[in-house]
Amino acid sequence: MSLAVETERLVKIYGNEKTMVKALDGVDMKVPKASVFGLFGPNGSGKTTLISILVGLLLPTSGSARVLGFDAARDSVEIRRRVSLLPEGFGFYEHMTALENLVFLATLDGVPPDQRKKRALQALETVGLKDRADAKVSTFSRGMKQRLGVAQALLKDPELLIFDEPTVGIDPEGAAEFRNLVRRMNREGKTILLSTHLLYEVGMICTHAAIIREGRLLVQGSVDELYRSVREVKGFRYEIRVKPGSDMPLQEIRSMPSVMEITQSDNRVTVLSKNDIGSNLFSLMTKNPYKDIVESLTPVEPSWEEIYRFYQGGG
């Protein structure tokens, strides 16, 4: 597996001996290329510190980080040439227009002079702000500024995009647009590292995820792997929808070897099993009397709240 980001025993300590705060405590993280990697954790868990180290804004106390093959501590300029960052709590020059801001940043990104304005306008169009290109940033709402933040990350053609809490402060419609943009960029082969404290965001767009808490990476892997490992411990859940007014016989299901629990409410039956009995259940549902009363059979993935609780040791 080719990696875009790889950290090894990354430690970051703030303050002196008396005021010491361990923001990162031995983080080993692997972000595969062309993935949408969700770094999930509550506020203060070390996400921003980790991202800041990756782009060379902070130096690790110990350990190492490699981004696109470059050492984050030594080759940070090379990394920033290939990586776009949307930092948390960023700001723009409010007295300048959106276009002026982007053209200035494109200059620093090394975009050739004849392409700066074009790229800036393209980026504004991508985030739906082209019609506000000549408006001063001071007139922008928080959501518009956030979109402008995404636009500045699109100025160069980065291999890796890092978004730190990208949907904070934007409305649901804007957040949905952002997620579409992430999917589109991922389809173009770009790697996206997304830090968030919103669980649903991870589930909606990420192909891979990691959970960080108190500076420690609790788990990481593909979203499927994370689902599977939770299911292996907490069981596999299936939902059977039956036609309204039908009486669902449960005896045969109950007699399956690994079934642990069956609950029934209205026209919905939930089966919890220790092992994956999906194919067995499906075969059963195609037989009489089930085939005439069952509308659907779907495996239920664990929710991200469940996954988070599971990995942080809260059951």
Binding site: L57, V77, E78, G91, L105, L108
Partner: protein, 325 residues
């Protein structure tokens, strides 16, 4: 590296010269210097005399205004140079580009040098031109040379305060803190230190001796048929003069810590004030040549140049080593 620094400098310079802050400061300076020159030329008229070098006297009046305005200009340009970017969150966006941290500082310094140069030249030119027009004064090549040198030293003084304030700004998280500290240091160096130095000198030397002694002039003069009688004059005693000399030596030694003191020493020499404290404010009848001024004030000039270098170096060290989350 230079390309990025120049891009930042260009943006900074555009921001500064279009900001109200700069033009308000230049406006205040012009008003202040025009008022000073007017009062100087008013002094000529009231005294019923024409000064030997009126332009130099007017320029020295402008220098008084510059002593206050140049540091304020430097502080105004620097107090939020880094802390402002940090406060607004723009520093994060800047540092996420493929640039070195030095580029940010270099760009800001380049822009400040251009702005200070422009502001000092504009202010000096405007004040001198207005004075020439108002008072119909003729100007010599030597006058122009002295005014040019004065503008250069004023720019260095302004830049010294820029460097000091930039240093404070690099470790401040809030521009308001940076401004208060910078202004506080300026007030200390420009006003408090000179008052303190006199207090310390008199505290060290004790109370002054008797100031005046009576001198009897027994000689008589013959004016035709009339002979003047002898007279009694009061003259400052030798002890008192020695005491004052020591006071000024101690005071100067303490004030040597202030860059304003060195600047004043240079401009005083440049505009014909004798350097010695006792003769202070007594204009020499023949002005010292520019080359002599430069050689006798070499230490002051060196201090004026070294001061910003020290603080710029410190700013580089703090900014490039400070980690921005």
């Amino acid at each position: 590296m230079l390309k990025n620094a120049l891009s930042i400098a260009r943006k900074e310079f555009t921001d500064t010269i279009t900001s109200k802050r700069l033009w308000v400061l230049i406006g205040i300076f012009l008003l202040f210097s025009i008022a000073s020159t007017y009062s100087t030329s008013f002094g000529f008229i009231m005294g019923g005399r024409q000064a030997a070098r009126p332009m130099v006297q007017i320029a020295s009046a402008i220098a008084t205004a510059m002593t206050y305005m140049a540091p304020l200009l430097g502080i105004a340009l620097a107090f939020d140079a880094v802390s402002g970017e940090r406060e607004r969150g723009t520093l994060r966006i800047l540092l996420s580009r493929p640039i070195y941290r030095e580029d940010v500082i270099n760009g800001k310094i380049m822009s400040a040098l251009a702005t200070i140069g422009l502001a000092i030249i504009l202010s000096s030119l405007a004040s001198v031109s207005v004075s020439i027009l108002l008072h119909n004064i003729s100007v010599t090549i030597d006058d122009i040379s002295r005014i040019c040198l004065f503008a250069v030293f004023s720019a260095v003084l302004s830049f010294a305060y820029y460097a000091l304030s930039l240093f404070i700004s690099t470790f401040s998280n809030k521009s308001s803190h940076s401004l208060v500290i910078s202004i506080g240091i300026w007030i200390f160096l420009a006003f408090i230190l000179s008052i303190m130095s006199s207090f310390i000198a008199t505290a060290v030397l004790g109370p002054p001796p008797e100031r005046a002694v009576a001198v009897f002039n027994m000689s008589r003069r013959q004016f035709g048929n009339f002979t003047t009688p002898g007279s009694v004059m009061l003259q400052e005693s030798e002890e008192y003069l020695n005491y004052m000399r020591k006071v000024s030596e101690i005071s100067s030694a303490i004030q040597a810590f202030s860059i304003n003191y060195h600047y004043t020493q240079i401009t005083n020499s440049l505009f014909g004030f004798a350097a010695g404290p006792l003769e202070f404010r007594q204009r020499e009848s023949t002005m010292t040549s520019i080359s002599t001024v430069l050689s006798t004030r070499l230490i002051d000039i060196i201090v004026l140049i070294v001061f910003p270098i020290v603080f710029l170096t410190a700013s580089y060290m703090v900014f490039t080593r400070r980690q921005e989350k």
